[in-house]
């Protein structure tokens, strides 16, 4: 019987689902760091981020038994975390300022001169697509990033960015069209 320390993420979730608090602690130690960072880049309020992180792991504690995923526990954790953050932002009411922060974080363009390592990194997840995304206009970039990269639905992305759902959908569509043309 492997101990929670050595278990892989899926087995760890199983331990957590069985009520093993030590497993919850290990899960936290593995994932809270990157989650906090990634959420902080989407929200300027550290209290909201703290609360989102706490609520995420609490939700994992209560609902670990329900995990039916493909083994990418990290992505699962992210899904819970970003949705919780959006919920909290919405309740706090100040969606506009959060959306602004979001734009500032993502809108900055990376410098044109890249090292060899950067090239490899780009190739890691998205290939040429990543580069092309950068060349889109900011709104299109944001819409596509929110839905595709962060894995939100159009409705959730709409809430995050503070625009109507229809706008998000049309922007996603235009972004995809432009990307397709750029890649062909």
């Amino acid at each position: 019987m492997e101990s929670p320390d050595q278990a892989d993420d899926v087995a760890l979730l199983r331990f957590v689902g069985r009520g093993d608090q030590a497993a919850l602690a290990v899960l936290y130690d593995r994932h809270a760091g990157w989650l906090t960072l990634r959420l902080s880049r989407r929200c300027s309020s550290s209290e909201l981020v703290d609360q989102a992180v706490q609520d995420t792991f609490f939700a994992l504690w209560r609902g670990a038994g329900r995990y039916r995923g493909d083994g990418r526990v990290g992505a699962y954790v992210w899904g819970i975390g970003i949705r919780r953050l959006i919920d909290l932002q919405r309740r706090e009411g100040n969606v506009q300022s959060h959306a602004t922060r979001w734009r500032l974080l993502w809108g900055a363009r990376e410098e044109l001169v890249r090292s060899a390592e950067d090239e490899v990194l780009l190739g890691v997840e998205h290939g040429r697509l990543g580069e092309e995304l950068d060349r889109l206009s900011p709104e299109l970039q944001l819409a596509l990033t929110a839905t595709v990269i962060d894995g939100l639905t159009c409705a959730e992305a709409a809430r995050l960015l503070g625009v109507p759902v229809g706008t998000v959908k049309s922007r996603c569509h235009r972004a995809r069209v432009e990307l397709r043309e750029a890649l062909i």
């Binding site: 760091g33 990157w34 504690w61 526990v73 390592e117 990194l121």
Partner: protein, 305 residues
């Protein structure tokens, strides 16, 4: 060409299996110096790559992580809420109010069972007894005095139930946390009304349901409402000056005295539930509520009077 719904993702070739972020890249990310496509790539890579996650370790705010960790583990130590609490939260009550209500001393299983038992006995008595004949006294709401008599045990007992609940809810003996609660800032009006409200609802609702089971006209529950509320509010109003248990006993004694007095004088205490009785009850209710609201500053748990 990628499908609309799929993430635009390149096949993960051998380069990705062996690629990991170096310290510099992670440091840039943590400091916020990484943007655009590079940042997106890294962010998508991190969650499921243990090696890169560990690489972050030295760069994070340890105190903040430790604080959140403690909160998470504390929350995990709390038992999941029971169904009454979940129900209260579902109707929108903030969770601290739900907790306070659920932990009212006279809302324990034993008390609720006792309430149900008493009601059951009263209803049973009413069912078993047949209408008495030869009882003098006016008819009440269309019921003859005789048939009203067999409902009497029930009618007399119901107003006493909330009183017993109130006495128990503020009793030092039944509340193991009494002293701690007294020394806490919330030992005042708020707690009082919360507990009183919980007691009233949990005594009245079963009583009204039980009233529907009685052999009698279907408006019976309505007849009960005013007198019961009047007696309860009088008790609460008296609690602004006396110990709640004393007030409850006193109000109960007054009610019984009234009932007995009417029985002796008029042959049947059912008049207390008649038109006149309802009006008088209504007046008492309003007066009592007024006194309660006016003197609510005096409500307090435990401070010796």
């Amino acid at each position: 060409m990628t499908k609309e719904s799929e993430a635009p993702r390149v096949d993960k070739g051998s380069s990705t299996a062996t690629w990991h972020a170096d310290e510099q890249l992670l440091a840039r990310y943590v400091q916020g110096d990484l943007h655009g496509a590079l940042a997106r790539s890294l962010e998508a890579h991190l969650p499921d790559c243990p090696q890169c996650r560990n690489g972050l370790a030295g760069l994070l705010n340890a105190a903040r992580l430790a604080h959140n960790r403690r909160v998470v583990l504390t929350s995990a130590s709390l038992p999941p809420p029971g169904w009454p609490e979940r129900m209260l939260s579902a109707v929108g009550l903030p969770d601290h109010l739900a907790r306070l209500l659920v932990l009212t001393p006279s809302l324990r299983r034993s008390w609720l069972l006792a309430t149900v038992l008493v009601l059951g006995v009263a209803v049973g008595t009413a069912q078993v007894l047949s209408p008495l004949s030869g009882v003098r006294g006016a008819a009440v709401f269309g019921l003859t005095a005789g048939s009203a008599m067999r409902l009497l045990p029930f009618l007399v007992v119901v107003p006493l139930l909330p009183l017993a609940g109130v006495a128990a809810a503020f009793s030092r003996r039944l509340d193991p946390m009494h002293d701690l609660a007294v020394a806490a800032p919330m030992s005042g009006v708020r707690l009082f009304f919360l507990r009183a409200g919980a007691v009233l609802v949990t005594s009245l609702v079963p009583a009204l349901f039980a009233a529907l089971l009685l052999p009698g006209p279907s408006w019976l529950p309505a007849v009960l409402l005013l007198p019961t509320s009047a007696v309860s509010v009088m008790t609460l109003a008296a609690s602004t000056a006396l110990d709640p248990a004393v007030a409850a006993v006193g109000a109960g004694a007054c009610w019984l005295a009234l009932v007995c007095g009417l029985g002796v004088a008029l042959g049947s205490p059912a008049v207390a539930f008649g038109y006149l009785g309802q009006i008088v009850a209504g007046i008492i209710l309003v007066v009592g509520a007024g006194v309660l609201v006016a003197r609510r500053g005096q409500l307090e748990l435990g401070w010796a009077r």
